[in-house]
Symmetry: C2
Subunit: 202 residues, 2 copies
């Protein structure tokens, strides 16, 4: 036994966090000793709170502490556009969109992507409730914002098919070169996508 | 407010851990949601335990849950060599030595290094108790294992001076090239130290 029990335990559990290896876990556990009692208490508590308070929004499946998330209840009250639904893979993407702060519609979280190789079909992700939501809207518009991988594109195409001939505008985010990246650093697929999605300047 | 309150709080407190930025904190907080209840409970608890149970060993100032640490009590019972004291900067170094598993003596943790620039003098680190410990030993040997920085070397020299003319064997770890590193990647000081500490092969 190299570590005292309580240190060993903290290291073991810190290692369960994503991206934390043995060395970082040791550093984190030791840093606890130098923190104020209050901070340690709050850190410990916040972990429990996160697990116990957060649930999925009944409408869009985004994370919330209430029945309905902030964005959806704003939409209910007319402060956001209910008719535009941005389809996302996970709640993290909602935070990214909200940080950007330009989007005025609502979200719909799939919590997964269609992936036949992994045995994940359309019924395994949060799609049926999207169909339900769209049915209740006038002039609905769906913006699909999934990553440009095989799974992301398969899911995008599937959603497009569902709403074909339904008077629903369906678009996806453009693929292309990210801001500030040197062209010669881009992979072939990104370059190819950027070429295909090129924008006419005239 | 981009995040629900409890998520925001967890992210805020995860960011207080060393090496954790906004993105990693978000990832960590979200990972809590996918963990089993039990694991979350234990993680939360282990943080409190760490803070509340760990204290400094009365003899060497290493971390322990008892009055006296494992190493020191083994030495008291004759299972480790009480007469050899390895002087270290912090408890982390003890764990590194114990992992290596080759050292049979005891430790003494300074919890700091002499650094006139930062106003840290000999009285600000855990030195007087080392003098006390050494006084009670027969044929004491001190091995100084501090990093090779200005502060480390200043502290090493200071300790050497204290025990001069006291029948105490004082050594320091050799400076040199670390395992597996290409010679041309080494900085000048390391090369110079390795040259100075060179070992005669005959």
């Amino acid at each position: 036994m190299i570590y005292p029990d309580s240190l060993e335990k903290a290291i073991t559990y810190f290692k369960k966090l994503p991206g934390v290896g043995e060395k970082s876990a040791e550093r984190m556990a030791l840093s606890i000793l130098d923190m104020d009692d209050e901070v340690v208490q709050e850190l410990s508590e916040s972990i429990l709170l996160c697990k116990n308070k957060l649930k999925k929004c009944k409408i869009c499946a985004s994370l919330t502490e209430n029945e309905i998330c902030d964005v959806c209840s704003k939409a209910d009250n007319g402060y956001r556009n209910k008719n535009i639904i941005c389809v996302l893979e996970d709640p993290k993407s909602v935070f990214a969109f909200e940080r950007a702060g330009k989007f005025e519609g609502t979200y719909h979280i799939l919590n997964g992507l269609i992936s036949p190789i992994d045995g994940i079909g359309p019924d395994d992700i949060n799609l049926s409730s999207l169909v339900q939501r769209v049915k209740e809207l006038k002039n609905p518009e769906i913006i699909i914002a999934l990553k440009s991988t095989i799974e992301g594109e398969a899911t995008t195409l599937y959603i497009k098919k569902i709403f074909e001939n339904n008077n629903v505008i369906v678009s996806r985010l453009s693929y292309g070169i990210p801001m500030g990246v040197e062209i010669d650093y881009l992979d072939e697929q990104t370059l190819f996508n950027a070429l295909n999605d090129r924008k006419n300047l005239s």
